[in-house]
Amino acid sequence: MAERKAKIRSLSASLRLGGVLLLILVIVLILAAMLGAERLPLFDLNEQQQSILYDIRVPRILLGACVGASLAVAGAGLQSLLRNPLAEPYLLGVSNGAALGTMLAFVFFQSLEITRPLLAFAGAGLATVAVYRMAKSRAGMNVERLVLSGVIVTTFLSSVIVMLTTLLDAAKLRSFTFWLLGDLSQASLNGVYLSLGAVIIGTIILMSQARALNLMMVGERDAFDFGVEVGRVRMLVFGASSLVVGAAVAASGSVGYVGLIVPHLVRLTVGSDNRLVVPFSAIAGAIFVVFADTVARTAIAPRELPVGAVTALIGAPMFIYLLRKN
């Protein structure tokens, strides 16, 4: 069984690109650790500065990387599965479902922190199923119907969230309003572990379905015909997406545009083979969010911007440009 790995589309070149991306990620992480509201020297940090670095900055940066990877990977998977380059956790209502779940966990199970990612996952999963059911018709999945269903579910959940916030008192309202726009400031090591675990599991699941997704990407019937268990793949991809999106949103609220822009850019560089797109999106997503968060916490220091606002400011023009190019 010693068959050599074939060279398709310069696999080795793609791997080299992967190495470069990882290097960029490491550089971005280091730079992010150096920048912040408080100036830190490179060496000889006193106790207070060490605390700033290790207790505050590092967990936040790591969480940002995990959240970015999660959202990008979910976007890549959903786009291939649903044959729609515009599919994205936020647009499909998955993020809002997770956000609603987290809010309900906060309101009803206040101190039990583990309930938040759990209910976020549940919310994400339910929203996904709702969108899918709504979009399905006897003739199969229609891509336009999907986008429409996604918009319906997203806006419906948005209104529910808004209603819930009007019933909260002023203090909770303030904290939720900021969080809903994407906020990495509550990063803790536990949150990082959870998020890291989720993104690793989710990415592995999606990579295991990458070949099947390559077929599903061109047509559901094609996938059936060539041996893909379409129902099973759908469940795994939806499940993995809900898992990573749930973990990300529970930790940091809704950060938008990552799942939309990052896989797009990755495909422009390495093509649509999901065996490459999925892992590369993870790395590129991490870079994107860590960068955006660094801007969010230094632009108006000592105050902070919500990181979701920064990703939107970067992502929206980029998205318009990408649309124009096609």
Partner: protein, 256 residues
């Protein structure tokens, strides 16, 4: 060897396919004809398990497909359907290689064997040199040939083709049929081809089946089946029949 015994497919109350029985022997090509909506595509879908038959059985080499997983079925049957647009940037080679799905495992990369199959299939379909081009940049006809190449690369013994010449120009229409014929001879594969081109079917098919309203209206050798009555009954069209001077096979000419 494909054995189909009295299969029926229903959409709710409606019977779309009723009591279809046929045999597909190794090395044989069956031409499947009928008006639009007669149930041809439904039959193809029932044969590879995409649609489940409410009655009857389909056996591959003696084994019923009802007990097979999708992977197993795909190892034996490859489908060539209508090409459609891809919204993602996919190269021709990637597209064709994706047809090798059942030959690899989840995390695997393609092997030399896979690439060889793909390259040969591309060459057979007159697409050598197209490997790195994007599917979205090809014409409809070129894309259709890539779809055929994908099915050929899969290496299955039974090919089901659903109007494979619909978008092809004259040269490539005949090429398509010739290719299928050669493939069937080379590796003892067999094929069922849905087509609207009665003459091409007459040239290349060993057997012709005509479907009308989900049932078999006529089945047999081209000379037996392609009669003016049958054609009038199934298509509602008047035709003249004679002999093709080049090949000696039946030639059908519509009367306008």
């Amino acid at each position: 060897m494909l054995e189909v015994r009295e299969i029926s497919v229903n959409y709710g109350e409606r019977t779309v396919l009723g009591n279809v029985t046929l045999d597909l022997r190794d090395g044989e090509i069956i031409g499947l004809l009928g008006a639009n909506g007669a149930g041809k595509t439904t039959l193809i879908k029932a044969l590879n398990g995409t649609l489940s038959a409410s009655k009857g059985k389909v056996n591959i080499d003696g084994r019923s497909i009802a007990g097979m997983s999708r992977r197993e079925i795909a190892k034996n049957i490859a489908v060539v359907a209508q090409e459609n647009e891809t919204r993602f940037p996919v190269t021709v080679l990637e597209f064709v290689l994706s047809g090798r799905f059942v030959h690899g495992n989840a995390f695997g990369w393609e092997t030399e064997t896979d690439v060889d199959f793909a390259n040969k299939a591309l060459a057979d379909c007159d697409l050598a040199g197209f490997e790195m081009r994007l599917m979205n940049h090809l014409s409809g006809g070129e894309r259709q040939r890539v779809v055929l190449a994908r099915a050929l690369a899969a290496g299955a013994k039974i090919l089901l083709l659903d109007e494979p010449t619909a978008n092809l120009d004259l040269a490539h229409q005949a090429m398509m049929f010739r290719l299928v014929r050669r493939r069937c001879e080379e590796c003892r594969c067999s094929a069922i081809v849905i087509t609207h081109d009665l003459n091409l079917a007459a040239e290349f098919a060993d057997e012709i089946i005509m479907l009308k309203d989900g049932r078999i209206a006529a089945k047999g050798a081209p000379t037996e089946v392609l009669t003016a009555e049958n054609i009038k009954g199934v298509f509602g069209v008047n035709v003249l029949l004679d002999e093709n001077p080049a090949s000696g096979n039946v030639r059908v000419t519509s009367v306008y």
